[in-house]
Symmetry: C2
Subunit: 326 residues, 2 copies
């Protein structure tokens, strides 16, 4: 039944948008506040925002690896095993909300979470602020960007979010195709794209990020079997119907953001496509078709942000020290 | 007695090199094999060279932090506490040998150690090579750089060493001073330098890296008290006289490479200067003099390498998977 509903929705979508593509081009970042972005980049790479002095945002959202850690679930403070797969920070600004369950409204709200989270960076906010406040170079940079506001969680997360806003991946071969270069993708890739639309994948995976536009049940037509106890959107709404509902992830750079699903259980993209087909759509899909869709999905890998590694200003005797083994 | 010997050596040094400075200018890196360096950079940032898929060389030699982790001792696989302070990779090419005890002759020999070390990256070499060999982009890059040699520990460590050779920090204010710009350092900084020479610090800390030219006993004139059981050079030679003998560390970028000493026990540079004076020289040094030497030492912070974060090629279904929690 659910399947039928979806099929109808999808059919409707296709009927009303005959010429329009479900996927939109990603535009390169336009940086209006370069100093804020630069400060945010430092904070994104700042291990002193963790109790151990060892973990930064980039540890779990490694910008060398498509903005993920490429692990099923993350390694946090004291090597604790995290509860859920780390989603990419690339193109995260296009998400309707942040986290798998959407519990943070936007990037700024999100950024406060991991610093204090005892399973992630495990550093109380007051200590994090004290670290930054004792370092003259940070004082100067915050003053230059935020004036009198100084160094607060509000300005810290504002700067991190400003940096993350720049983490877009334009110019994928598929974007070139959308922009009119019909030779930018091969015939097989185009076939994969046609299958992606015909099978209604694009009913959920759409918009510039090819995802991130809605929350959807994982296991719409068939239960998704997993050891992972996370319940998704239910955490936020408490509604029975929101159990196992997750934010639809972006498929941009999907070639880089393995392993797949909120439990990080599937490593092979073709396999992930088949799981989707089975649990979300229930329609038969041959190995060859699944393979073609996967081949198409790899055209969504865009230009990765070119990051010059920030040089972080040194601590001094007043700076709170890391406590990795306490 | 030891003290007197040293004083004589130092006096001799100064007498015979009247005009010559004990510290030499660091030259910028000249890159003759850019493709090898680029490949080495990828490997330096490659977490898949660790069992967990989480730790890379850059985890413990963070190029945002002066090439160190800024911890007393390192965090290795499974959050194991390391035995000794992580030395900087910056200017490491100037060291007469690698590691505190000099057990590796050069950077290439050194680089094989941490990958397999169960307390560091904990990945057997055959698995590390398998990871790289299953990734077509690495195959191509190794072929381009090493031709028929392929992907072996020999070529892996050769590439990493080639990258590390570029990690020099020229153009410090002190280098500008040495090059003839007498205004590049302040009067107090110059006084600190004079004290550094007059107190015979430069008998041990000399050469372009201001260290790394010899092994010396830690606690030459007075025992150095530490909880750390490492014995240094004795590990290599087995000679009683080599107990507590360590490679003299570089003082380049010393402002960034806290905490100090092989046990990482001292966080404050002025304090470290005082410890040196006490245990290596035994001569009295006022707080003000120690402070001046520390102020001089901060002129040794050079231009940090500008690193564009490498984009690492993705794994595929054939690539051995990380095992962070096994
Ligand atoms: C220890 C690993 C770890 C660290 C450190 C970490 N994250 Fe995350 N991050 C995760 C995981 C896991 C999730 C998913 C959590 C969830 O959805 O419940 C996540 C989610 C996110 C998201 C939401 C993306 C989306 O599409 O929903 C953003 C943005 C993000 N993190 C940014 C950051 C920033 C900024 C920092 C540093 C201040 C940071 N992370 C530190 C593991 C980490
Ligand atoms: C009804 C909505 C819906 C439909 C239809 C749908 N998906 Fe998904 N997709 C999701 C949701 C929700 C997730 C996240 C599920 C989870 O991780 O628990 C997801 C995850 C994925 C992932 C893994 C992404 C990642 O980073 O973990 C891939 C790949 C994927 N979908 C591809 C497809 C393809 C291909 C199709 C069509 C054959 C498709 N999806 C159809 C909602 C949908
Ligand atoms: C888990 C932390 C950790 C990791 C990962 C790590 N190192 Fe080290 N490194 C250390 C420590 C600690 C030492 C000092 C060990 C000793 O002297 O006995 C060291 C020593 C060195 C030295 C010697 C410097 C000197 O002056 O003596 C070099 C060079 C070096 N590492 C490069 C690397 C490279 C290249 C990699 C990756 C292949 C790497 N390290 C991975 C912690 C680490
Ligand atoms: C006899 C040789 C010798 C003399 C003289 C000497 N040092 Fe050292 N220095 C060493 C050795 C060896 C170490 C490493 C000791 C250890 O970590 O166990 C060291 C370490 C240091 C460190 C810490 C470096 C780091 O990265 O951990 C500083 C700073 C330093 N010396 C400064 C000085 C100053 C200033 C003087 C003069 C007042 C001086 N040294 C005199 C041999 C010497
Ligand atoms: Ca993933
Ligand atoms: Ca140190």
């Amino acid at each position: 039944m659910k399947m039928q509903t979806l099929a109808i929705v999808a059919a409707g979508l296709m009927a009303t948008t005959v010429q329009a593509e479900p996927i939109q081009i990603i535009e390169p970042a336009v940086i209006t506040e370069p100093e804020k972005v630069e400060l945010g980049k430092k904070l994104f790479f700042e291990p002193r925002l963790s109790k151990s002095g060892f973990l930064s945002c980039n540890s779990c959202h490694n910008l060398s690896l498509g903005g993920v850690d490429a692990l099923p679930t993350s390694i946090g403070h004291n090597w604790q095993e995290g509860p859920i797969n780390s989603p990419t920070v690339l193109n995260a600004k296009y998400m309707l909300a942040q986290f798998w369950d959407g519990r943070a409204a936007d990037l700024k709200e999100q950024a406060a979470g991991p610093i204090e989270n005892p399973k992630e960076m495990a550093l109380p906010h007051d200590v994090a602020l004290e670290v930054l406040r004792t370092i003259p170079a940070y004082q100067d940079e915050f003053a230059a960007v935020f004036g009198d506001q100084g160094i607060t969680m509000d300005t810290v997360t504002d700067a991190i979010a400003a940096f993350e806003e720049t983490l877009v991946t334009p110019n994928s071969r598929f974007d070139q195709y959308l922009a009119g270069d019909k030779n930018a993708i091969t015939e097989v890739e185009l076939e994969g794209y046609e299958l992606f639309k015909a099978n209604a994948c694009s009913a959920c995976h759409n918009g510039p990020a090819v995802g991130g536009t809605s929350f959807q049940k994982m296991g719409l037509v068939k239960e998704y079997i997993t050891d992972n106890p996370e319940l998704g959107r239910y955490n936020v709404t408490g509604k029975e119907s929101d159990k196992n509902v997750f934010k639809v992830p972006t498929l941009r750079n999907i070639e880089l953001t393995y392993p797949y699903f909120h439990d990080g259980s599937v490593w092979d993209l073709t396999e992930a496509v088949k799981v989707m087909q089975e649990v979300q759509l229930g329609l038969p899909l041959s190995d060859e078709e699944a393979e073609k869709i996967a081949i198409f999905l790899k055209t969504l890998t865009g230009d990765q942000p070119q990051i010059t590694l920030p040089i972080l200003p040194p601590s001094n005797p007043n700076t709170p020290r890391p406590a990795p083994f306490k």
